[in-house]
Symmetry: C5
């Protein structure tokens, strides 16, 4: 039976970066795995007008670790995007590779049990 | 077997705020938990033209309570957004931290039973 | 085992309104319930240019019946929106509270059996 | 156990039209039903600039067959839309009722078995 | 029980192309199938301003292999799109048929077991 928690992260200031790594932070020994689903990425209302902000993620794919932009946000024209991205395994590093934000990254964090581990095949 | 209800909230006037807290409001003793899914956030047609409206949520994450903007709405350019956010646990406080709205927040409210509690791992 | 049907509704003319109420319209006695999922709301190509159209819904929430705008459409700038709204119980009334449309409202209609009734907790 | 296939259709030229009707086209006798999910509708890069293109569908609802626009596309301003529409039963006819395209319609085609037939109640 | 991996691909330079073909690349002998879900397609911040970029996919449908554009991206106006496309079977070839990118294509890769193979009928 999976538990689910609201997830929210703010990156503020050039090159700001944060790692989602529930297993590292002394998390009690969870049987199952952790999964992160990111739904929204948005620029705060206090972001510098007209500045381009780029959110990069670093995460493991099937064969290798990869760094890639997942959102390019610019206040006034494209300040918010529904990402709907799944990160099946920690750690995942979110970084502001361009712009000074603040950018807000929002979704939910699932802590599974081995039986139901990520049987997302039905999505 | 989960029950599901339409959910809709309007915030009108500067600093307007409302708490989603089904367990507190004398709700009959529900076995399972409550879960809120927010799909839409939109400015009403009567909102002040050109005014920036910011919807903030306050909710518990895995380890702490957090306040974060989830939508920045401006009539004429970005007046409506599909949020698709899940709030697995009450209470959740929605506030208008900027602008005077009205903003409309729409989704559905799930009242679960312990067996199926949040087995969203398959999403 | 749920049955599923395509659902489509057009509202044309000021104050146009229509009720989704499968149980009332002499629907055969369905064991389970009815659920409506609305995915798209869009202005027809023949809508008055620059006119603001507002789609309101009236539906039961957990505790009360409520009327609220769910889409503000304006041809040329924001003529179409992915709503992804769930209406777990009939009746639901769709109304054009502003503008003369035509607006097209599209989704699908689920007729459930009691066993699987709305176990959407896993969404 | 359902089988799933990528689905893609292009409509090019005024009044272009195509029917999705897997059961008619000499499809082997499939036990279960067919379901079509359309995710994207987009104008090709070679579409006439500034021309409004309207995609209409004709499909059976619970009680009747209906024709309705599902996307209004105009290159430069609104050339692509995430539709996320479900068509539980063939046939479905896609037509270009305005404009000369090309429009591209993309999603996936599910061929079910009777046991799991459209138990989308959990969506 | 399905396994799930983050998936990310960058196409850079005119006519850039890449095949998703997990079964070919000496992948250990996986019982079940592979499924790719693409959620985001976006132009990198370093893309040529005002240049139209077209992402084409080549994949098998129910009856034939097909090539079709899935995203038309132009920095400044439509630089990012939520695709939410499912590719039930490898191989799938992603190509930049117009523009020089870089375009970033992001989603997740599911490796199923035969029991749960693509029972997406419930989506
Ligand atoms: Mg689900
Ligand atoms: Mg599902």
């Amino acid at each position: 039976m999976a538990d689910e928690y609201f997830y929210a992260l703010t990156l503020k200031g050039a090159k700001a970066s944060e790692v989602w790594d529930p297993e590292a932070k002394g998390a009690e020994d969870y049987q199952g795995g952790h999964k992160l689903i990111i739904k929204q990425a948005l620029l705060g209302p206090d972001a510098v007008d007209g500045e381009t902000n780029v959110i990069q993620v670093e995460a493991m794919t099937w064969k290798e670790s990869i760094k890639i932009p997942v959102a390019v946000l610019k206040s006034g024209t494209s300040g918010q995007v529904l990402l709907d991205l799944s990160f099946p395994d920690p750690p995942v590093t979110f970084s502001l590779t361009q712009g000074s934000g603040p950018v807000h990254i929002i979704g939910h964090h699932l802590i599974g049990s081995p039986i139901e581990e990520f049987d997302e095949m039905d999505e």
